[in-house]
Structure formats: C-alpha cells, structure tokens
Symmetry: C2
C-alpha cells in the first residue's frame, strides 16, 4: 500500500512508520497512516504546519528520535511515487494574461482576451478519473478532428500538446452554500506541485463551442507526486503581477491584503526518442515564472466558492498554462507554434508532440535570502493511440 | 448509515437486512451491504440483473423467504433518501436538438446549432461535490453579472433556472486509454434517474467564453434518489430519433445496431410559495419525452470513452436539457422565456425562479403492452442567497 513520506534531501522519511514507532504526536500520526494525504488535508493548514514542525524537531541533531528516524529514511530513487491525494474534484483555471492574449489574438487582435478574463479567473471543471502521477505514460487519444475541407474525421490526435501548470492542493472544507472570503482563502491552500494539462488540440477545437474543453483534456493529466506545502513556500510570496490600467480594478470580493502571488521558476524540457537513443539529455524549451500570473491561488479559491460551491480536502486546482511575456516563456506548443515549429539541439523539428516524446516539467521557488525549494518532477512519455476496437 | 433498498410499490425492501438474514445469494448480499450502490455498479449489468431476479424470486407468493422478506419492508414515506452512489465524476451532455437550436437561434438563426452538435454529443465536465439528493434546498448563488451598461456587478443571481435532464448511472470500468465501442456501451449503463442541472444564467453567460459553464452550474445539482435499472427499462427501448438529412450520417464509431433510445415521459412542475400557502398543488409547466433526443445513452458512453477516458462505477452522466419540438416541451426557463414570462394557474407570473419556488421533476417510462414504470421525484426549493461574509 502506498504510504505518506517527507522528502529529506535525496531520501524519504516514512511517516507511517514514524507514527507507528511513536515518533510523531498521536493525532498527527493518525492523519498520515493512510495511503493518501486527504486526512491531513481535511484538518487544514494548521495540522500540516504542526507536522512540519514535528518532523523538523525529530530530525534535529539533538532530537530524541533522531537515530530511530534515520533508520526510516528510504532512498528517493527506490520509492515508487503515487498521486498524493484521492482527488474528488479537479478544476482547471486560466491565470496567465500572456497565454490568453497570445492565443486570443489569432481570432481578435483588437480584443484578444476572453471577455470575462479581467473580471474573474476563467475556469472549467476538468476530469478527475484520468489523473496520473509523474511517470505514467500518456496514450495518444483517438477522436474527431475537423479537416481543412470542412469534413470531420475520426482517428489519432495529430496536435497533441502539453500545458505547464501549477498544481494547487486544497485543504479543509466549506459547506455547500458557504462562500470563502479572501481573508480565509489562504487557509484553504494546502500546497503545490506541477501539472501537465495534456491537450488534444484537434479534438478540443472541434468540440469546445459552447461548453468548453472535454475530450481534448480528459484522456490524461499528469501531476508531480511531491507536494510543496504552503508553509514551505511562505518565503516566496510576492505582490500580485501588475494589472494594466485598461483592465480596471480588481473586483472587491477578490481583493486581498498582502502578498499572495508566488515566485516559482518553472521549466519545460523535451526529450525525443532520438535524443534518448543518443544518450542526450532533454532540451529546455520553456522557462517562465509563476510570479507573473494575473490571478493568485487565493483568488482562485475565493472565486471558486463564491457561488457556494463546496471545495473538499484533496481537491485539485490547475492554474492554467503559466506563460509569460517573453518568447521563451510560452508554456504550451499551441503558443510556440504561432511562430512555427521548434528546432531542437540535435536538429530535430517539432510542431506538436510525436509518439516517444517525453515532456518533463521542473520548478524551483527562489527568493533573495531564502534557501531555494525544488519541486518534484512531472514527467510523462507519449505512447501511440490504440487501434479502435473491432 | 444509509442502506440500499428496492422499491416495492409504496414500500422499500431493506437489502442489507435481507442479505444479513441469508435471503440473498452471498455474493450479491456483499454488494449491497454498504451505504451506496458503487460496489454493485462495479460488477456491471450482470450483477444487477441477478439481484433483480433474486428479489423477484424472494417476493414471489411461494418464495421461500417471502414471509421473512415481508417483515423487511419499510413504508417509503418513512425512508430518508440519499444519493444512490458516491459520484467520482459527473459529466453533463447536450442531447436535445430542439434545446440547442432554440437557444442558438438567438445568436445565429441561419445556423443555430453548435458546430459540433451533429458530429458528437457535446458535453462538459461538471461538479461532483455539489450534487444533492432530491429534497435538499438549493441556495441561490452570488456571482458576477454583466449589466446592461457593460459593467460587471457582484450579487445574488437574478436568472436562476432549472434544466430537466435524465440522470444516467455508469456500471463497470474501462482502463485509462481503453475505449468502449458501441457494442459494449450498453453494458456500461447501470440505470437512470432524474437530474436538475440548476443554472445561474447571469453567472454562466458572463463566464462561459471560451471554457464553458463553471460557477453557473457548480452551486447545486439535484438528483432523484431512486435508480431505475437498465433491465427494468428494456421494454421501453425505441429507435433513435430521426436525424434530419442535412445533418449527414451518424459517425461510424457512434453507430450501433438496435434500438438504443428510451421512451420516458418527463415533466416539470412548479410550486411557488403562494401556491404552497394556498394549499394548491404544483402546476405542470413542461411535458417532454426522452424518445425525441438526438443522442442516446449508449452513444454518450462511447463518445465519452473514445479518447481513452476511464469511466468509473457510480460516475454520473446528465443528458442535458430534454426539450422537445412543441412549445410545451421546453425544458428550462431560458427557452420558455424566449416567448416571455409564464402565467401560472393562480395568476402569478414567472420569468426566472424566485426564492421559495420549488421545482419538481416527474417521469414515467411508457410503452404499448408494458406496465409503466415511475421514476422517483426530483424536487428542490430555492432559498435566498447568503450575505457575503464580512
């Protein structure tokens, strides 16, 4: 059975074992005895802060259980990773002004943003069942595709894309019908990871008017298994990105005191089958920063619950594609392809993803005077579409 | 703890108690011992067919446990009803050509249907956490609303609507990446109920470009608690509704042999606070039939899994608003309001829903030579929006 662990350098502290040995406060031990983090998440931010302090104390050089705890460390390379929570609900947002404007400009250069973009963090419900942890392969989907002659064909998706996103894990629960004002939103943020919102662009563009993306997204979503807690990221809080004057003020119910943006450097690396055969490492194709996003995690929570929608422990929010303004900060191939295919270091060219391509996301929270925090890798390889069952 | 029961006239047979008394085959007893139907749903259609036969045999006049079973009958009026399954994923479709064309004609009378409508059953992922069983109140949501002068305000939704839909419960499971062809889709249909896809039209219309409905739907969805099994509905199978010639042929992968439509007469009744005070019964405002829908439940399953998306036991599909061609078959207020407010029998007028209004859905499967089957009621009353927390 999967178990909960804490990353300590290149090792993992087995928290269930630590709890069984009496090395953790009893109530906390009970919250990390299961295969997922939902019980801990249900107790809100306070419990995870106490757990963090308890683990720190345990591993301190003079900690009473330090020697015992050292025996519970498992090399990270030997651990098989899983999804950190049983996800009841998965919502995907659209927090980057640059991503939205860059893609919207194709249709309407004069008004490239979706009409609601400056008023609220635009979002859609996405699919929880097809979430996988980093490492699981992504099967290229079959689907219906609009052809240049106006007909619709059925077959393997030809424009398979990634989207680099921040994964936001929810703590606590609000009753159905009970909103979460901005001053309470921070307590609902358990922690963060990386998320690849795989996108089948042909399927998506045919289906999405008027109800939004559906089968273009639901074949797979990959999540990094490590959760960086909100406590650990506190030193990396930043002011929200500047809001252009023409966008008008932030709606009153989404205004919050304090710095609730986050400085996280995020990268996309691509490794083709040819690169793997040649023993080359992956090539970096995108570098962006979450600090430049238009809406913050706290605003996503308050907006999401503003209609009384109940957010549950272990619910997952995807930030949406985290593109920045620079050409090298385009965080999906649909944006990159606006200027044509990529040329990789080995001379290969890429429009959309080919079978055998592996997409790897990496991230680090960085701030002056703070020790940087690495995120767990989010990686998956594309495998061929299945034959349609006869 | 909630328990599983079978409706027998105006009584309920307690299946957990029947299992504990040894009145059911042991494997089936294990599947209905919990608070929800997911374990039974996981075994697929075959297990529910066997359960149905076992209950029939038990209650037959000469059945061995008939007298014992009779003691396990609870009057339906004394039973408190719950959601029939723990719903991991809830998807909402758009199966009515009349609904889609009627609303689309406002924007584009020459081409009123969404571009993909004739190629695939258009759908979106919806919100599982805010599902409730019939009887739970619906809290009017707060949200952002576009005003006539182009500004956006925040406050209680003023165009709260219902949508009359069929609830479709999923049996069995396909592995992620594994499609479900039409010949297997019938086995994935566990049973049916009624579903009110409550819609906040101001919130929805502001937010839905380009990612679809989100907060306009996620404040509440009401489901009838009784599941009419697919076996019980077999006598009510009908040919799919005729497809207009200009729509072209059904895509090959969505073609299925046999009659996979369903004849179910569906109704909406409205009871205002004034009607309730006066002791009047509710007034019928919509009468439609599922037989006229453009896409069938089996096609929804095959489309949904065509990209490899895994459908889980207890997943819920909403059919979408089941409007028919007649003026009296408009199955949401947004359609009714195209011709102006309703006048109710007591002289009250209704545009959209007011606080205190109760919306009640009823349905009956009917076919020549078959005993009609009633569906459980789907009812909820609208209560006022909360004050925004200060």
């Amino acid at each position: 059975m999967p178990r909960v662990g804490v990353a300590i350098g290149d090792q993992v502290l087995d928290l269930r074992a630590a709890g069984e040995l009496g090395l953790l406060p009893e109530d906390l031990a009970g919250l990390v005895a299961g295969p997922v983090l939902n019980s801990l998440m249900a107790r809100g931010r306070a419990a995870s802060a106490r757990l963090r302090a308890a683990v720190s104390a345990l591993l301190a050089a003079d900690g009473r259980g330090q020697a015992e705890a050292a025996r519970l460390l498992v090399p990270m390379v030997d651990a098989r990773m899983h999804l950190p929570a049983a996800v009841a609900n998965f919502t995907d947002f659209m927090v980057s002004r640059d991503h939205s404007a860059r893609l919207g400009a194709r249709k309407n250069p004069a008004a490239p943003l979706p009409p609601a973009f400056v008023h609220l963090p635009v979002a859609y419900h996405s699919r929880a069942s097809s979430l996988s942890a980093s490492g699981a392969p992504v099967v290229r989907p079959n689907g219906q595709r609009g052809e240049a002659d106006g007909t619709v064909s059925f077959g393997p998706e030809r424009r398979l894309d990634f989207e680099l996103e921040l994964a936001i894990w929810i703590a606590g629960e609000n009753a159905l019908g009970r909103p979460v004002p901005m001053r309470e939103a921070g307590d609902r943020l358990f922690g963060y990871g990386l998320l690849n919102d795989w996108s089948a662009r042909e399927i998506q563009f045919l289906e999405m008017v008027p109800l939004g993306p559906f089968l273009g997204k639901s074949m797979a979503t990959t999540v990094s298994p490590w959760v960086v807690t909100a406590e650990a990221l506190a030193p990396f809080a930043v002011e929200t990105a500047a809001r252009p004057g023409e966008d008008g003020p932030v709606p009153a119910h989404l205004q919050g005191a304090g710095r609730h943006g986050l400085a996280i450097a995020m990268e996309v690396w691509l490794e083709t089958a040819a690169m793997r055969r040649a023993g080359d490492g992956p090539a970096r194709i995108t570098a962006t920063d979450f600090a430049g996003m238009y809406w913050t995690p706290a605003q996503l929570v308050t907006h999401h619950a503003s209609n009384g929608c109940n957010l549950l422990p272990g619910d997952l929010l995807g930030s949406g594609t985290c593109s920045g303004p620079e050409p090298g900060a385009r965080a999906c191939l649909a944006e990159i392809m606006l200027e044509g295919p990529l040329t990789l270091p080995n001379g290969e060219r890429r429009g959309f993803l080919e079978d055998g391509d592996a997409v790897v996301f990496r991230a680090r929270a960085e701030a002056p005077g703070a020790v940087a925090i690495g995120f767990g890798e989010c990686r998956a390889e594309v495998v061929p579409a299945p034959e349609w069952p006869q």
